[in-house]
């Protein structure tokens, strides 16, 4: 996209003043492109490629690479295991839980978080003083750092001292409530916090979208006798569809990356029941000195993300752009 527009500018420059502008454009490209490409290659492309190369090895992370020769021991740092890491990964019950948890995050994001954000956006998108205040309030959770959020909520849910305790005490319940310690509750609690934390972000996307809908369209619908609900479903939502597709896109990719909230709240427990793909990767790959295995999980995660992005961009978003 960028390349095409650059070329066309180059072409028009050529037509106007031959020689001089072309060389300056090329100089510009030569000066500004290499640092960007270099940074992108070194910090994004290379690590991804490395992970792919590490994934078929059993390797602790010591030494420059699993296939490098270690002079001290006379063998390579890692051992080639072929597809064993992937085989192991798909057979591991904790991985299956992590995978299904990640899907849970995606579905809750799509089915609860986005509709909630949309509802609130519809309520407060008009410009007024009260709406600005509410917008700010709803947006605050998104501003908080993830780890801080996780810590705050882990205190809230602490049955010994937290808000959870206050509630059980107020209602004089006999049994203290520890949602983060119960298998059936732990991940659902995290889901609730995820919804709480990110709905404000999507709400903002929708508000921006709603504000850009031409007022005369809504006015026209009203004059034609459309009721408020009809205006929402037949005017606002169709006009908002491009914004919604973007928010779905962010929501799914964000769901694939949930990590910082899980670590302070449950650290994946109890009994590995609340891992997401990323926290699973971190725990079983890095903490346990299994860089090869961690890379295999990373490759899987990457593949899921890329496939989703590719399919989504070429189907839903292409439709929306029309």
């Amino acid at each position: 996209m960028t390349l095409v527009s650059t070329q066309s500018t180059v072409g028009s420059a050529k037509r106007r003043r031959k020689g001089f502008d072309l060389s300056s454009q090329t100089t510009m490209l030569l000066i500004f492109l290499p640092p960007a490409i270099l940074l992108f290659t070194v910090f994004v492309m290379l690590p991804m490629a490395e992970a792919a190369f590490f994934s078929p090895y059993k390797w602790s992370g010591y030494g420059p690479a699993p296939w490098a020769f270690n002079e001290a021991t006379g063998k390579s740092f890692g051992t080639w295991t072929g597809g064993a890491n992937f085989e192991r990964m798909f057979g591991h019950s904790a991985f299956q839980t992590a995978l299904s948890n990640t899907f849970k995050v995606i579905s809750v994001s799509l089915l609860v978080q986005l509709p909630l954000a949309l509802m609130l956006a519809l309520m407060i998108y008009r410009k007024s003083y009260a709406n600005t205040v509410f917008r700010l309030i709803f947006f605050v959770p998104y501003i908080l750092a993830e780890v801080a959020t996780g810590l705050i909520w882990s205190f809230v849910f602490d049955g010994n001292f937290g808000l959870s305790r206050v509630i059980t005490d107020t209602f004089e319940l006999q049994k203290a409530f520890f949602p983060l310690a119960e298998k059936q509750w732990a991940f659902n609690t995290i889901l609730a916090v995820i919804v709480w934390k990110y709905f404000g972000f999507h709400m903002m996307i929708y508000i921006a979208g709603l504000q850009s809908i031409p007022k005369d369209l809504i006015e026209a619908a009203r004059i034609d006798g459309a009721r408020p609900l009809q205006i929402i479903f037949f005017v606002k939502l169709p006009m908002l569809w491009p914004a919604i597709t973007i928010s779905i896109f962010y929501s799914v990719l964000g769901a694939l990356q949930v990590f910082d909230l899980v670590m302070p709240m449950t650290a994946g427990g109890p009994s590995n029941s609340s891992h997401t793909l990323v926290s699973y990767l971190y725990n079983f790959g890095f903490i346990r000195l299994n860089v090869g295995y961690g890379s295999a999980v990373g490759v899987f995660l990457f593949a899921v993300g890329v496939i989703f992005a590719f399919v989504y961009r070429n189907t839903v978003q292409r439709e929306a752009a029309r």
Binding site: S60, G61, Y62, G63, P64, N70, E71, A72, T73, F77, A84, R88, A94, F157, D158, G159, N160, K175, A176, F177, F178, P179, L180, A181, E182, K183, A186, T266, A267, G269, P270, S271, N272, N283, F284, I287, R288, L289, N290
Partner: protein
């Protein structure tokens, strides 16, 4: 200005020149937050430098997490220290296996074993070679809160067998006192029970056989029995409410606030519970310690101990002077001072008797009488299998898997390694 710069450069050059003339031994330690501990290091180093003019020892301190993260890269670089702190266990085995460490010559190691702890030396050995010298020791035992024991009507000093312990847990539960505090979210506090039961049931030989994959590895009747005995405890619902949602730090705070009769923890808990509690924690008079009991029909002894072993190890290119210094650094004299000043519980047998604190003294006695010291299983078996032991300990505690499944899972993990 230019003149000043030149002078500085020349002076700098001279300084480096003189530093090069003597041999430098670089020591990398984790942060010693406790002031006397740090001072002990600095004093030993200063004395050694004074007594050995040809050698210059430098100590650098690094915060724990930074240390863990930087070490793998450091070891592969030219900036590698000559001596560094090690918690032993899986990470240490990996470093030794990959050839980053320098083994101590056999004759010197044999000499060291006379003064230093043989068990501690063993923890810093790999494939029959010794790589370092042990410093502090940690041991795990059952702590009890005397006030709560009285309230529950139990006498923990009478605990001799696992059944006795279960009996007292039951009595306490019936009396309405929380029997045990545990930080289940961290998993490793739970793995102490499973590990110690396994040790008592199969003994040293059994554990070694499992690690080597003999006799079915982990999938044998001894491990299943360890799981079953563990489940007998779990079925009594002995832990505080919500124990799976609490990390060790918070749990020991509950313990320090007088939340239960028992806790199974290492000697470090004495200070930890005081720091984490809301009212200063439990005093030495309120606390008691008993060794983990026997299991009837088991091959292990009640005097076998489970715990940590830490010390300093040598890197691949360490000079001979580093070996010489290490012996002094971790030697009986330094350890005696540590014991007398209450810095840590020493491993050197000659220093154990000098511990003054009445509780730590009991731990030193348990450590001193140890017939076989087993490193924490989650470290001993390396990070993958060790992590799996923590996992199954937690999964059994939440009732997700049976002892048989736990044994199978461990064996699967071992084979995958």
């Amino acid at each position: 200005m230019k003149k000043l710069l030149t002078t500085c450069l020349i002076a700098g050059g001279l300084l480096t020149g003189s530093a090069l003339a003597e041999e430098t031994v670089k020591v990398l330690s984790i942060n010693r937050d406790v002031e006397p501990w740090k001072q002990l290091y600095l004093d030993v180093v200063a004395e050694y430098n004074k007594a050995n003019p040809g050698v210059n020892v430098e100590v650098e301190f690094m915060e724990d997490e930074a240390f863990k993260q930087k070490l793998p890269t450091l070891l592969q670089s030219d900036a590698a220290p000559d001596l560094f702190f090690s918690w032993s266990g899986g990470v240490f085995y990996e470093q030794a296996d990959q050839g980053f460490l320098r083994p101590i010559p056999d004759d010197i190691a044999a000499e060291w074993k006379k003064d230093l702890s043989a068990g501690g030396m063993a923890a810093l050995s790999y494939n029959g070679k010794f790589y370092g010298a042990p410093e502090a020791s940690q041991n795990v035992a059952i702590w009890y809160n005397k006030d709560n024991a009285k309230k529950a009507g139990v006498d923990p000093t009478k605990i001799k067998t696992w059944d006795d312990f279960l009996g007292q847990v039951k009595t306490a539960k019936e009396a309405g006192v929380t029997p045990i505090i545990v930080g289940g979210q961290d998993k490793w506090p739970l793995h102490f029970y499973y590990s110690l039961l396994a040790m008592r049931i199969m003994g040293e030989d059994g554990l070694r056989a499992s690690a080597a994959g003999e006799n079915g590895g982990f999938d044998n009747e001894d491990w299943v029995r360890a799981g079953k005995e563990y489940m007998r405890l779990i079925e009594l619902e002995p832990f505080q409410e919500g124990f799976m949602g609490v990390k060790y730090d918070a749990a020991t705070g509950l313990w320090g606030d007088g939340g239960a009769v028992f806790t199974l923890m290492g000697d470090w808990d004495l200070g930890a519970q005081r720091a984490a509690s809301s009212n200063g924690g439990l005093s030495n008079e309120q606390l008691g310690v008993v060794p983990f009991p026997m299991v009837e029909g088991g091959k292990g002894k009640a005097s076998d101990t489970l715990g940590g072993a830490s010390g300093f190890v040598l890197t691949r290119n360490a000079p001979d002077a580093a070996i010489d210094f290490l012996k002094v650094f971790m030697g009986p004299d330094a350890q005696k001072r540590a014991a007398a000043e209450g810095v840590y519980i020493p491993t050197a047998p000659s220093a154990g008797g000098l511990v003054k604190d009445s509780i730590l003294k009991q731990f030193a006695a348990i450590g001193g009488a140890s017939t076989y010291h087993q490193l924490f299983l989650d470290q001993f078996f390396g990070s993958t299998l060790g992590g799996a032991i923590n996992d199954v300990s937690a999964q059994m505690a939440t009732g997700d898997i049976t002892p048989e499944e736990a044994a199978k899972l461990l064996e699967e993990t071992r084979q995958f390694q």
